[in-house]
């Protein structure tokens, strides 16, 4: 009996030791990374178990940070406001590389082949390309207009064939960047696309690039199947002559705006969500909502669309039913809801409540809150399904 006990103890000790030496194997398909904007840190979360796995700090100024995934969904590249670009191994929870690449940065994208990380910068305005393994600089593309004036770069998105699209806020241009040779990328410029593009998105098939305009009603659309046809205006004059209300937070655009037959887009300066037919690009509805939309995100099924709002309406989230184009649910999950992220198949949505220092997990079928996790001043939530999706 004694022998058996000591044998069991030895086995247990060996298992423990082995456990210490090599962490249990796991996939990364249900992991995510949450930006903690005030403390320069991120959390790695597990969206199946709804728990936090790791906390990584020392990432600089992460107010308005975003990130993209490596194509193996093991690493994330975090673009900090202060120009820091950090590469994190989400399985080990370790920072593996970091460079200061600009004075003031806003986001980035990763190439089709996963080898190039592109950063979009405000100061100095432009795009820089980096080797995804080493973060070595490959190319620097300043965003200068024909008069040599710099622009802030917004709405950088990846397109098929190692290409990227982005917009120039001041110049009102859309640039296509062909990075087939990442050390000598080729630029195609589309001028006069509209006043003050504030963000952009690429559809998940990479066909369309759309820039939202702040300076006028409407959006600028580039069809990458017919790039020679140029950029055209969609949803012009959606404000219908009504006075534009002040905008206390710029809306954000990404590929989740397009689902099924529709594009769901924030109206700038109006409390409404614009719905366009994604074939004809004609407006089919304008859904009145509680405040000025910031994120307008279709569930992965495309059946419903979730909307959060700018200050001072940022304690509220609304859900639009797509067949009826009506708001069917109004939720108040926490103070200052800055971001939402669906799980890969949309069974749950995670929301960041900046002022309540928490993440809220809501069941998308019942709208019940099924979990909460502490997080310090959380903003962006990024789940690993993004690794396999264009425009993310």
């Amino acid at each position: 009996m004694k022998t058996i006990t000591s044998l069991a103890a030895a086995v247990a000790a060996a298992v423990l030791l082995a456990g210490c030496a090599t962490p249990a194997l796991r996939g990364s398909g249900d992991l995510g990374v949450v930006i903690e904007r005030a403390s320069g840190s991120v959390q790695v979360v597990d969206n199946s178990q709804r728990r936090s796995l790791a906390h990584i700090s020392g990432l600089g100024d992460l107010s308005h940070a975003s990130l993209v995934y490596s194509r193996d969904a093991r690493y994330v590249y975090v673009f900090g406001r202060d120009g820091g670009l950090s590469k994190i191994d989400i399985l080990s929870g370790k920072l593996v590389a970091r460079v200061m690449q600009a004075g003031n940065s806003i986001g980035g994208a990763i190439s089709t082949d996963g080898r190039i990380v592109a950063a979009q910068n405000y100061t100095p305005g432009g795009v820089k390309l980096f080797d995804a393994d080493s973060l070595a600089l490959l190319a620097d593309i300043p965003a200068l207009d024909e008069h040599g004036q710099p622009s802030k770069v917004v709405g950088l998105a990846d397109l098929p064939g190692n290409r990227f699209a982005f917009s120039l806020f001041e110049a009102g241009e859309i640039w296509l960047l062909d990075a087939a040779n990442p050390r000598a990328p080729l630029v195609t410029k589309y001028k006069n696309v509209g006043r003050q593009p504030y963000d952009g998105l690429a559809s998940s098939d990479g066909r369309y690039y759309i820039a939202g305009l702040y300076g006028e009603d409407g959006l600028a659309l580039l069809d990458n199947w017919h790039p020679q046809a140029g950029v055209r205006r969609i949803l012009p004059g959606y404000g219908q002559g009504q006075d534009k209300q002040p905008v206390y937070k710029m809306p954000h655009l990404r590929g989740w705006s397009l689902a099924g037959d529709y594009a769901f887009l924030p109206a700038v300066g109006h409390n409404s969500v614009l719905v366009a037919d994604s074939r004809s690009w004609q407006q089919v509805a304008q859904v009145p909502v509680y405040g000025q939309p910031v994120f307008v995100m279709a569930e992965p099924s495309g059946r419903r669309v979730w909307v959060n709002f700018a200050f001072p309406h940022n304690d509220t989230v609304q859900v639009i039913d797509v067949p009826s184009m009506q708001v069917i649910k109004t939720l108040q999950p926490g103070r200052a809801i800055l971001h939402m992220e669906f799980t890969a198949r949309g069974d749950a949505v995670w929301l960041s409540s900046r002022d309540d220092d928490k993440l809220v997990v809501i069941d998308t079928q019942s709208f019940a809150t099924v979990g909460e996790l502490p997080a310090t001043s959380p903003s962006g939530i990024f789940f690993s399904w993004r690794a396999a999706r264009m425009g993310m």
Binding site: S63, H64, N104, Y248, M250, A336, R354
Partner: protein, 121 residues
């Protein structure tokens, strides 16, 4: 008796200058007088508003973003009155919105003072 007249003129000129100077000084000191800081709870709210909501465009550290930087260096030499006006009523043609619905004129003046002195709350 010419010299005394000249010196009298000089004296009166000096006096006038002194008066003007002291007037200017008085005027300036009236404006430079530290504005009463808002009550602590309100100051905390304003700090939060500045860092988080102004910070959405200007950066949490006020180094700028889509909006221009709000550091003391960036605001140096800019007239406080026009900065206060921009804060309260926005800036047409740019995304800067009016914050008058959320902050009073005194609070705006206090915020601008703090920002220009590099003592952002």
């Amino acid at each position: 008796m010419k010299p005394p007249a000249v010196s009298l003129l000089r004296l009166s000129l000096k006096c006038a200058l002194l008066l003007i100077c002291s007037g200017v000084l008085f005027y300036e000191s009236a404006h430079a007088e530290p504005l009463a800081a808002p009550a602590p709870a309100r100051a905390a709210e304003l700090r939060h508003l500045l860092r988080q909501d102004c910070g959405a465009c200007h950066g949490m550290t006020l180094q700028g973003g889509l909006g221009s930087p709000l550091t003391a260096q960036a605001l140096a030499g800019k007239p406080a009155d026009s900065l206060v006006a921009t804060l309260l009523d926005g800036r047409p043609g740019t995304p800067m919105p009016p914050w008058r619905p959320f902050i009073s004129e005194d609070e705006a003046r206090w915020l601008i003072r703090q920002l220009q002195q590099g003592e952002a709350p």
